[in-house]
Every structure is written in C-alpha cells, then in structure tokens.
C-alpha cells in the first residue's frame, strides 16, 4: 500500500517533470480591432492549461496594410521568433512560400468549414492557413433616430444619402452640432479598397479585376459609384472620413454621433456594450444597393504557421486549437465574429447572444472577394493603385474619370502579359 502510493507519487512526479521539460514557448502575432486581443488571450489561457505550453502575443496595429509589410519582412528573413501568424484572407497567395501545409492537420475538421473559405486559403493544393473567423460588413443604423424622424433603413445608396442628410439636419437643428449622417473607412489603405469595391460592385461596375484576370475598373458604372461616394464628403460624412479606419469610424458611431456606419460585424457586440451610447438603439441591415444589388466585400482572418518555427508541431496544434469550434463559438458569442464553421450558424447559444450572426450567413455566402486570386502576387499593388485612385477622386485631386483612366493604364502596365 505504502509502496504503491510512493510509486504513484514518483510516477506522477516524473510525468510532471517530463511534461514541464517538453513544454515549449510559442509566439503568435496578431493585429486587432475592438476586443480581439482580449479574446485571443482568453483562448490562449485555455490552450496553455490544456497543453502546458506558453504562448506570447505580439500585438500589431489595426491596419492590415501595415501588418502585411512587417510579416513579409519577417518571413523573408526566416524569422524564427514568431510561430503563428494571424493572416488576412487576401494574403494566402503572397505568403504561401513561407507557410507550412496544414492540410494533414486539418484533414478531419476542414470539412466542417465553409468550402469557399478553405479554398481561398489553399494555394497549389497546400492549405496555408486555417480559417479563424470570416467577415462581411453591415450597414449599422440608428433605430431610434429613424423612428423619431419617420424613416426606413435605406435599401439603396440614394436612400441612404437622403435619409442621412435628413437625420443629420434635424439632429443639428436640435443642437447636436457634431452629428454626422454616415461614417465609413475612407483612409488610403486596404479598408478603402473594401469599401469602394462594395460601391462599385453594387452599381454594376464589376470587381476591379475579374476572375479571368481582365481589368474592368474603368467603366461608367464604377465612376458613377465613386462620384456618389464623393458627394458624401463634407455633406453627410465629415471631411475627416478620408482618414478613418475601422476604429475611427466606430469611435464616432459608438459615441452616438452618426446615423449610419459601414463596418464589420465586430462592431455589433461592442456597440451593445454597457459603455456604448448606442446600446440597444441600433440595428443592422445589408449594405445598400446601387441598382445592381447589395454587395459586401469578403473579409476574414486565418491562422498560418511559419515554416521557420522552431516548434512546428506545437504551432500547428495551437493554430488548430484557435480555429476549433469551441474557440469560434466563444469568438462568435462574445465578439460577434462570424464563424467559419457552418454548424455554428444554427447554434442557439450563438443566435441568442448575437442575433446578427444567423442573419449574416446569407450575406457572407454572397460576399464579393477582392481580386487577390486573379492578381496573385501583384494584389497589393493593384489594391494600392485602386485605393489611391479612389482616395484622390474623393478628396478632389483630379476628376474620377481621369483618375480611373490613369488607374486602368497603371493596372495594364502592372499586368503586362499576364498576372503572376
């Protein structure tokens, strides 16, 4: 009896020692908006308890453009300090060479994710990143104000323009001088590409570069779309909107100073927080149409494992853990991040906590991808040329016609004899 206890204690001790010796330290790098980092930390705490490994978070700024430059540099230098990267949906073809193939590890779970997302992260048969959450934007509107002034949530951009103007005028008359009609992401960065693609697509102006690689952006519908957006600057949107990213727009919205906002679903849970001035006073609808239906740009973030990681097995395990159903459920119920696992859209717990999620399945399934697949490694430059042309047009630097003609020329030049 005594001997047994002793042996058991010894065995337990050995087990603890081996486990401690095997425990590794991992690092994950992630950009963030809202409470992303807080959620990541709490998921990592669960992982640490389960695996015995420790994970350090390296935090990055909110702009995906800034993150990409840094990640590319680290990966090209073969940096072994970072094991897991949180990657944007558009990066897969550009970073594929530096990332490990996750298809073996994801063999069993890949089927539960939406096939289109898995496909977007597959480059030459290699699954370079496992989806963490997906994104499709919404039009946030102030239910209380629309009711007060007898208006309906807008179905078209034209409706939005008149309703926003009306609410803004009335609110300003009522002494709310800092009130704005509509805020969105107008800074010169990837976010403007997302916003502008929605305008262009919903006006029937195509997707900048079509799936077959054809450059379609210079057309009258696309120009009309940008002209419409340009008319908002200084009328229903503050001039500063040309410098806003997601969090800047949310700052104005959440302090109750805007009637409408275009933003990703993450803003839904934050706007319902206790410290939010718009708690319980807002609703979400799909983005307005420009005559050719509503269009939402497909976003979303994934987890990729660096080829240069010193602990590839543990790093893959970590990525799979953070992309698991349980992690996604927590992200969905607490942060209103859209899951990439189909079953979660029918989960009553998720639906109760964040009613937006089941309603958004349709929207995200019909979302428009940015042209990262056809333009391959040139995508970043295509996107920069596009957002520059849009930003210039909206800030009054040359006419939209001239800017888009120039844009077409530049894209042709970039394409050369074909995208590569």
């Amino acid at each position: 009896m005594k001997l047994h206890t002793g042996l058991a204690a010894l065995a337990a001790g050995t087990f603890l020692v081996t486990k401690a010796a095997l425990a590794v330290e991992l690092a994950i790098v992630s950009g963030a908006v809202g409470d992303d980092i807080k959620m990541l930390r709490s998921n990592l705490d669960r992982y640490e308890k389960e695996s015995g490994n420790t994970v350090k978070i390296v935090e990055m700024p909110q702009s995906t453009t800034d993150q990409f430059g840094q990640y590319r540099l680290w990966l090209s230098a073969g940096n072994a300090d970072i094991d897991v990267y949180r990657t944007d949906v558009i990066w897969a073809p550009q970073l594929a060479n530096h990332l490990l193939d996750l298809s073996e590890a994801a063999k069993e779970v890949a089927g539960s994710h939406f096939p289109s997302i898995i496909e977007s992260q597959t480059v030459n048969g290699k699954l370079v990143a496992i989806p963490m959450f997906t994104d499709a934007p919404a039009l946030y509107y102030r239910k209380d104000l629309l009711e007060k002034y007898g208006a309906e949530p807008p179905k078209t951009w034209e409706d939005l323009t008149t309703t926003a103007q009306m609410v803004q005028d009335k609110e300003r008359e009522a002494g709310n001088s800092d009130f704005h009609g509509f805020v969105f992401q107008g800074a010169a960065y990837e976010g403007l590409t997302c916003n502008a693609l929605e305008w262009v697509k919903s006006f029937g102006g195509g997707q900048i570069v079509e799936a077959d690689g054809e450059i379609s952006i210079n057309n009258p519908d696309a120009i009309k779309a940008i002209e419409t957006a340009k008319s908002w600057i200084g009328t229903i949107s503050p001039e500063g909107v040309l410098g806003y990213k997601e969090e800047d727009a949310r700052g104005i919205w959440q302090t109750g100073s805007a009637a409408f906002m275009r933003n990703w679903p993450y803003a839904y849970s934050l706007s319902n927080n206790d410290d939010s001035a718009v708690k319980g006073k807002f609703g979400v609808v799909p983005l307005p149409s420009g005559g050719d239906g509503s269009a939402a740009t497909l976003g979303g973030w994934n987890l990729a494992v660096s080829k240069y990681s010193r602990h590839p097995d543990e790093a893959i395990e970590l990525a799979m853990f953070l992309a698991s159903e349980e992690s996604q459920r927590r992200r969905a119920t607490e942060l209103s991040r859209l899951p990439t696992i189909e079953a979660l859209y029918d989960d009553p717990e998720v639906a109760e906590a964040q009613p937006i999620i089941p309603n958004w399945k349709e929207i995200f399934l019909n979302a428009v991808p940015r042209p990262s697949a056809p333009t391959k490694k040139d995508y970043n430059e295509v996107s920069k040329e596009f957002w520059t042309a849009v930003h210039d047009s909206m800030s009054g630097n040359g006419s939209t016609e001239a800017n888009f003609k120039k844009l077409e020329g530049r894209l042709k030049r970039l394409k050369g004899s074909g995208w590569e």
């Binding site: 702009s63 453009t65 800034d66 990409f68 430059g69 840094q70 590319r72 540099l73 090209s76 550009q94 060479n97 530096h98 800092d178 107008g186 800074a187 010169a188 960065y189 503050p238 001039e239 500063g240 909107v241 040309l242 410098g243 806003y244 800047d248 700052g251 104005i252 100073s257 490694k377 040139d378 970043n380 430059e381 920069k384 957002w387 520059t388 930003h391 210039d392 800030s395 009054g396 630097n397 030049r413």
Partner: protein
C-alpha cells in the same frame, strides 16, 4: 654627400616621423573602417546590386542581372508602339522626389529661423536658464513614433484638441481633417517636424553663439549700434559656420524622412517621400529590385544635394579656418 648635410638629414627624420604617424593613424582607424564597411558599406553595395537585378523578397538568392531595366526600359509592344518603364519614367517616383525636397526645404527653413530665435533667447542671461534649456529639448528627446502618434490624436478631426482649440478661439468655423485632407496633409507633417526638430537646431546654434567673444558686443555697445544691426552685422556672420553645419545635419535627416510620415499620413500621395516609396516597393509590393533601385537613387539624390550645398554654402568641413 647629402647624408652629411644636417638640413637634409633633419628633413628626412621629419618625413620618417610623418610616415610613422600616418601609418599608426591608419592602424588606429582600421577597426572603425572595418566596422563601417561591414555595417554601412556592405548593405549599400548590396542594395545597389539588387537595383540591377530582378530580385524578389521571396527569392533573393535567385536574382538575375537585368542591367538598367529597373531605372529605364523601353518596352516595345511589337507593333511599333511602346512605352518607357522604370523609375526614371515613373511619375510616382518623381512625385516622391518633389515631396521630399519640398518637405526638406520648408522644414529646414523654418527650423533654422525658429532655432535661431530659441538659441538667442537661451543665450540671454535670465533666472532658471538651465531649466528652460532642458525643457526646450523635450520635443527632440521624444521618439518620433511616439510624438507622431501623439500629434495624430491632437489633430484628429473629431476628438482632437487642436480643432477644439481653434474652434473655441474662432479661428476656424468647422473642424479641419488635418491628416486626411490632401490640402493639409503636408502642412500637418511639417508642423510636427518643425515642432520636433527646432530644439536640435537651437542647440547647435546655441553652441555657435557661445563661441563668440563677449568683447565684440561690448565694442558695439560702446559705439552705440542698435541691437538689430548688431545681430545682422556681428552675430549672424560669426555663427554662420555653425549654422551651415546645423542646416546640413537637418537637411540630411529631412531628405530621408520616413517614420513621421509612416505614422501620421501613410499611403497619402501628397506626403509620400522617397523613403516611403522605397519601403512600399521593397516590402509591401512584390518589387524588391525596384525598391532597391529607388533606394539607390535616394542615396544619389541626397549625395548630390549635399555636395551642391557644401559648394554653394562653402562649408569648411576640414576645420581649416
């Protein structure tokens, strides 16, 4: 014989001594030169080399020599028509060069004027001068990233203190979107840079002021010359060498400005400088070679501007006078 001539022998001894000195100075300099070649020379040569290749950041070792194509290349479309490609034919690059030179000239101009004024004030005798001197240096001591972020908040169009202040004193009727609007983006960058580096100029000019012997001022005072005339006829000529060196330090710094713009107004064509242009191509886009060529041109442009300035301003870097 020459050897018996005492003068020649002395001369030879002296030249032996001189040769000895030169030799030992090279020995002392060697470690520094080796380090410099390693940390500055090698990357520079490597960058210049990449500028002549088709390198991509993903496959640096697989780079092939393509001559001057990154700088200028005539692409024939096969039907008699064609187009020039490359940096020298890239309007974005020339816009970046213009932005950089504009930024440098304006910022250094104002920093020199404000720096001189601050230096004159700090040179005067008053109580608590040590404290004020230290306080003035604070903007310069704050890391650029931090001060740029700080100013970005102050210039925010909705929550920024700057707009609030101007609105309250009635200077403007509605908030200005400092960093977003294309009219004010460059002004915003200039304001922050001038705020940040004026203390540095002041410090260098103050050092020049302290070199001026006091008796000159006493003589001017006895002659009853008015202070403005004293400044232009006595102070300014005497601090000119210090001023010229300060200006060149600042100009070199301003010509390669990156961090301030990267934080304050990223991706804005009105403020994209040569360094920002190079960074974009090197790391954001799949154009490492093009970015290397841009870096090489940046190096050349700075080099040429510096040489021209040295000639025009007749700065004596040897310290002979």
């Amino acid at each position: 014989m020459a050897a018996s001539d005492p003068a020649t022998a002395a001369r030879r001894r002296r030249s032996n001594l001189k040769a000895e000195r030169i030799r030992s100075s090279w020995i002392f300099l060697a470690p520094m030169l080796a380090v410099l070649a390693f940390v500055a020379g090698w990357p520079l040569l490597k960058t210049i080399w990449f500028g002549f290749t088709d390198a991509s950041l993903d496959a640096l070792s697989a780079a092939d020599f393509i001559g001057l194509n990154n700088y200028l290349e005539w692409v024939d479309y096969g039907d008699g028509e064609g187009e020039y490609f490359g940096l020298l034919a890239d309007p974005d690059w020339w816009r970046a060069v213009y932005n950089t030179v504009f930024f440098s000239v304006v910022s250094v101009f104002f920093e020199t004027i404000f720096g001189t004024i601050v230096a004159l004030v700090l040179h005067a005798e008053f109580k608590g001068r040590g404290l004020v001197r230290a306080a003035v240096l604070i903007p310069w001591a704050i890391p650029t990233i931090v001060s740029a972020k700080m100013w970005a908040w102050m210039m925010n169009d909705q929550f920024g203190i700057l707009n609030d202040l101007f609105l309250h004193i009635g200077l403007i009727s509605q908030p200005i979107a400092w960093t977003a609007s294309s009219d004010t983006a460059m002004i915003a960058v200039l304001i922050v840079d001038i705020w940040k580096t004026t203390p540095f100029m002041a410090l260098l000019i103050l050092a020049g002021l302290q070199m001026i012997p006091q008796d000159i001022y006493e003589a001017a005072k006895i002659d009853g010359i008015n202070p403005v005339k004293v400044f232009f006829k006595v102070t300014l000529p005497l601090i000119k060498p210090a001023l010229a060196v300060a200006v060149i330090f600042r100009a070199l710094d301003a010509l390669r400005v990156f961090d301030l713009i990267y934080v304050l107004t990223p991706n804005n064509s009105q403020t994209r400088t040569m360094s920002v242009f190079a960074q974009e191509n090197l790391f954001q886009f799949d154009k490492f070679a093009y970015g290397s060529a841009a870096s090489t041109l940046l190096f050349l442009v700075i080099g040429i501007i510096t040489i021209v300035y040295l000639k025009v301003a007749r700065v004596d870097l040897e310290g002979g006078r």
